[in-house]
């Protein structure tokens, strides 16, 4: 929260983004793609995951593929064909990544809380 009403920065907020990238700054996985992985895990289907997150299948598929190419290993075990058309499930690596990220996020939130408070306290004093 920015501060108490009346503060100069009352309706200003501090935001942050975290993501994994290559050394030269190419994005690999961010919040959006991790959410996609989580949804694949939940539904067992890339298409269902894309639908649930309101993004096109084309985009979802491309995102996963790009991340896998950057990482050099597979995040989603995909099979096609069959009565149900196919299915997808996360690899162990992907699950491990998700759980590590969740922990990271929590740690982060916790750490940023005080820092943010201190920041707004300082700028609102001007």
């Amino acid at each position: 929260m920015a501060g108490s009403q009346g503060d100069k920065y009352y309706d200003v907020f501090l935001r942050y983004r975290l993501w994994l990238s290559t050394k030269d700054g190419i994005g690999i996985l961010g919040e959006g793609r991790l959410a996609l992985l989580r949804e694949i895990d939940k539904t067992g289907s890339l298409k269902a995951a894309a639908d649930n997150l309101n993004i096109s299948y084309r985009k979802a598929w491309g995102n996963i593929k790009h991340a896998e190419e950057m990482l050099g290993f597979i995040l989603v075990e995909k099979q096609r064909g069959g009565k149900l058309g196919g299915k997808s499930q996360l690899t162990d690596e992907a699950r491990n990544l998700l759980s590590a990220y969740d922990e990271l996020k929590d740690d982060f939130e916790l750490a940023i809380k005080d820092i943010t408070r201190k920041f707004f306290k300082k700028i609102n004093k001007t």
Copy 2:
């Protein structure tokens, strides 16, 4: 740093961005615009600052204006005309903001260090 060579995530890095935004997610000030403010402070000129940062005057001017409109107060005291064409200098609010941001950034770096180390330690174990 991602970890020791041989690790699965050896050439993967965790990045972050911090910025000020409105409640509904409209960006106000990020690293780039703060750098612009710093350069204005250093040079006393919006044009010189833009040149030094290799961005167009048009863009620099628009960025400052947008930030000021979002914040509801002035960051740069601008005057035009005169032999030298004009000049610009930061308001006290802008200076305060810059110094608070520097402190925030330092705090942030410090906090993220351990968190990042822990994250890579965990995912590299898979």
